[in-house]
């Protein structure tokens, strides 16, 4: 399972999502979209919007931090 999170340094819900991953021992890759224009473009292309965080769990794209959605996506990714 691969988890990617697109963030900005000031975004609180990004921090909450990252804490959630850490607390659940889930590895993730983080992209700060204010530092990397290509990742910003990638994030917009994937999510068709420009709010952060965007989380990509094995291709399941979610905007914002919602523990229930993350849990579902992690479970279904783990079940594959």
């Amino acid at each position: 399972m691969t988890i990617k999170i697109y963030t900005t340094p000031t975004c609180v819900y990004c921090k909450m999502a990252k804490e959630y991953f850490k607390n659940h021992n889930l590895q993730y890759e983080e992209y700060d979209v204010t530092q990397d224009k290509s990742k910003l473009d990638e994030m917009v292309a994937k999510s068709h919007q420009m709010g952060v965080p965007v989380i990509d769990i094995d291709g399941t794209i979610m905007v914002g931090f919602d523990r229930d959605y993350i849990e579902q996506a992690v479970n279904s990714a783990g079940a594959k």
Binding site: T8, L40, M50, V52
Partner: protein, 305 residues
């Protein structure tokens, strides 16, 4: 049956929880997250006892303080959807289908961002329309951006955008700014912001993303358009009181009417405090204080005093 259900996890809910534990009340606190609306603030400088703390750290400190109370049960990923009167108290139901019985209720559910209510706002939500400048300002680098509003949160949104946007238009509906003079000066001295009074947003336009905002210039009574890549909405707040409609008296804006002496609502057994009430000032410290006041009064009520 609980002695008390606290609805909300902001400073008010946590303050009540700490006091409820000291009074050994059988208590459940229901919230979807901790910290209240300050959570997204870069810096809070007026939480008494702490010179400066980020909104995120404040929310974590509040959560830790509550979790240190051994007697308090916490449901932290749910929201209350309704309250009904039952024999000897109330039944509180939640969005996830849970039902809890309690003798008393304290509502500290706070308030939320108001929307503009104009064409295009929902369509472009996240596609240029934004409600959290702290979160999203860095994504508007190199763009011209509009901010709608005239109070403190609108001024702070402009300040958040100044390092990134090439130009910020502040569209103010009335003929003056209501926010703090210190922040007003910061904006006026930036050279990048243009304050436009008597300007009422009417439509957010674009194709896939925002490319413009239409507004009524009330001075000339004509509709004009600005070519912007983003619209930040900061037009005040509205109470989170939908779930309590019909159970307690609300004022014309939906805020819960309370007795400022003890935070009682119109319904015996239900108290309310903080931003969801009809108080004139919306502050973390006031929410905490009013909530403690409510807790002490409801403790007396439970003890027949």
């Amino acid at each position: 049956m609980y002695d008390l259900i606290i609805i909300g996890g902001g400073p008010g809910g946590v303050a009540a929880g700490v006091y409820a534990d000291r009074k050994k009340l059988k208590t459940l606190l229901i919230t979807d997250e901790f910290g209240g609306q300050s959570k997204v603030s870069d810096e809070v400088q007026n939480w008494i006892g702490v010179k400066s703390i980020s909104g995120f750290d404040l929310s974590k400190a509040l959560e830790e303080h509550l979790r240190a109370q051994k007697e308090i049960e916490i449901s932290d990923n749910d929201l209350v959807s309704g309250i009904a009167k039952i024999d000897g108290g109330f039944e509180v139901s939640t969005q996830k289908g849970k039902k809890y019985q309690t003798k008393t209720v304290l509502i500290v559910s706070g308030s939320h961002h108001k929307k503009l209510g104009v064409t295009g706002e929902d369509k472009f939500n996240g596609r240029g329309v934004a409600y959290c400048s702290t979160c999203d300002a860095p994504l508007f680098g190199g763009k011209e951006v509009a901010v709608a509003g005239g109070g403190n949160s609108a001024l702070e949104a402009v300040v958040d955008l100044l390092p990134y946007a090439t130009k910020v238009y502040l569209l103010v509906r009335s003929d003056k700014l209501k926010g703090d003079p210190v922040t007003q000066d910061k904006i006026k001295n930036s050279g990048k912001a243009q304050i436009m009074f008597n300007s009422e947003v009417q439509e957010v336009s674009g194709d896939q993303f925002v490319s413009g905002v239409k507004y009524l210039d009330k001075a000339s009574n004509s509709v004009k358009e600005l070519p912007v890549g983003g619209v930040f909405v900061e037009v005040g707040s509205a109470p989170n009181s939908d779930f309590i409609k019909g159970m307690v008296d609300l004022n014309e804006y939906g805020y819960i009417v309370t007795d400022p002496k003890n935070q009682r609502t119109s319904t015996p057994g239900i108290w309310a405090a903080g931003d969801v009430t009809d108080l004139p000032f919306r502050q973390n410290n006031i929410s905490a204080g009013d909530s403690v006041k409510a807790l002490l009064d409801l403790y007396n009520y439970l003890n027949g005093r």
